[in-house]
Amino acid sequence: MIVKDVVCPFCGCLCDDIEVEVEGNRVVAVANACELGATKLTGERRMKNPILRDGDAWKDISYDEAIRYASDMLLSAERPLLYGWSGTHGEAQCVGVHMAELVRGVIDNTSSVCHGPSILAIQEVGHPGCTLGVVKNRADLVIYWGSNPIDAHPRHLSRYTYYADGFFLENAFRDRKVIVVDIRKTETANVADEFMQIQPGGDYAVLSALRAIVRGRAESIPQTVAGVTREQLIRVANLCKEAKFGAVYFGLGLTMTQGKYKNIRNAIELVTELNRHTKFTISAMRGHYNVYGSNEVNTWMTGYPFGIDFSRGIAFYNPGETTAVDILARKECDAALIVGSDPAAHFPRRCLEHLADIPVVQLDPYPNATTAFCNVQIPVAVTGIDAEGTAYRMDGVPIRTRKIFSTEYPSDEEVLSRMYALMQEDG
């Protein structure tokens, strides 16, 4: 059976033009998707049933037993951590927030280790952004700063920027210019019209220099800034000013390098400055397919996008204190529920040492690095494959992911709702 218009549940592009061929409970062929999306859609070797750690071995348990274990663990904890959430649908995230409030825990999502700094900067100076469709149809200049879409968001260039047709561009491929700013010559830099190579840690200085040049203060800038010559800075500033519509897309090369949210703030302020001359926007290259959704859901329910501490009964937000890495590294939690992410594959060793010391329950369809730290793992349906739900694209557009086929696995929302109902009875 061929299923059309499938939404790809891999990266923040949420491509909604995928075609898959299904045989029974398996996707056997994928068209239109990139390599990353196709691999996820055809994924195999799921965990069969919930498992409980029993000494050095695993014991199979029922969903009821696993849900009871998680509920008891969270209710008895003094400071439980509920982390992950970017790899699941919005409806499940909603239940997660209710749960965190009920058990007075800390709820954090993966943006605290990816685009959290972008949100901190937006809270300081706002977000001059737009949807991907606007960029596709109007932008004649696209800047990728500290991001490498050819490897990380493979269809971003073809669907929305470099290779895409634009309604208001006569010959989009010729008219559109691409600038890449990075510390190394990436695959994306190879297709760029201008490549600005900067020294590691030099983003902030280069952004400040560009702001001053756009303001007409080029004479005060030193001959080179973080490895970039003043001539190139002036050339790039002119390209930006001469564009009819510019769009900046930045990645973790900007958010997770020295200075973090100050880099993003500086980039936003450069875009604000450029808007005195032409139309310019800036947006984040979000990673997980629904990491934007976890920020949306958290914000509409608690007022804050990630790192929310309910331990005093009200929402308190302070990234650096109430975020997962900081809490784990400081040993400040005594239980953890992990949903739709794999912290053991990404967190620093010190965090994992604490994760190994406390009870951990994970909801994930596959065995992963975090499985090694779990007391219980509950397999769930994969959103976008055998579960459906709302996800937010990297530009904030909500797209409902579809169920391609049905399985016996419960969705994240079903498992979490049952857990929450038990907690309400007991709590």
């Binding site: 901190l120 220099a209 200075g259 331990s311």
Partner: protein
């Protein structure tokens, strides 16, 4: 009145204790009604501390609170909204010590964790050891950090020292970290040692670096040299990226070029 709070050992738990109730004013009406929080549990003060009270007082200025014990680094928000009196911490202190403080003195004999003196409006904080990140800064997304008073660090300070500072004086005798005085609006920041990327995007105020300013932001305009308290310092104004009119004085500087 002298109140001595000796922290009881927690038996290996690192869950922080939120103790915004520990300010001199609280102790004017006894210690029975004072509670602190460990995670999501509310505890009486005596469950966490051995308490001894000597003498009597009618106003906060006459109260001195002494905090002792090996695990005082777990205490958060001590001295929050304090308006008079004195708090002495014999060891290290946790995050948010002296938040929103408007008067009195806090003396920390060890190190202080993040957000020491956040959004402080008056009074004095002395830290004999090191201060972690965001000392004398503001809250996330806020436009103003510290607005008045004095913070003096005798050791080193972490990153984002005095971010958004809008008044008062911050003195660090050792080195400071990255982005010292970022977005500075007003007030005075003095770093006796080195620091990196000082006063990025500053709009006003004065910053003195008596050591080397590493990776100096390229958008500060050099004016000349000035003599200040016996030192020859190079004077910059900036940040010209934002029409800023702040003053940066450094003994020595390096660009990231």
């Amino acid at each position: 009145m002298k109140v001595t709070l000796t922290m009881k050992p927690a038996g290996g738990s690192f869950i922080p204790i939120e103790a915004e109730s520990i300010i001199p004013k609280s102790f004017l009406s006894g210690t029975d009604d004072i509670s602190v929080w460990r995670g999501n549990r509310e505890l009486g003060l005596s469950e966490v501390f051995s308490i001894s009270v000597e003498g009597k007082a009618d106003r906060p200025e006459d109260v001195e609170v002494i905090i002792a014990g090996d695990e005082t680094f777990r205490l958060k928000r001590v001295g929050e909204y304090m308006d008079g009196g004195k708090i002495t911490v014999l060891g290290d202190i946790g995050m948010h010590c002296g938040n929103f403080m408007s008067g009195g003195t806090i003396e920390i004999q060890g190190n202080a964790d993040g957000w020491l003196g956040r959004e402080m409006a008056g009074g004095t904080i002395l830290c004999r050891g090191d201060a972690a990140n965001y000392c004398a800064s503001g809250y996330r997304g806020g436009r103003k950090g510290m607005t008045g008073g004095t913070v003096e660090i005798f050791g080193r300070a972490g990153a984002f020292l005095a971010e958004n500072v809008a008044g008062g004086t911050v003195i660090v005798h050792g080195d400071a970290g990255d982005m010292a005085g970022a977005e500075m609006r007003d007030g005075t920041l003095i770093v006796h040692g080195d620091c990196s990327r000082p006063v990025a995007n500053m709009k006003g105020g004065s910053c003195y670096v008596f050591g080397t300013a590493h990776a100096l932001i390229p958008t500060f305009k050099k004016i000349g040299t000035v003599r200040h308290e016996g030192r020859m310092l190079i004077h910059f104004i900036g940040d010209i990226a934002n029409r800023g009119k702040g003053n940066l004085f450094v003994k020595d500087y390096r660009y990231l070029d």
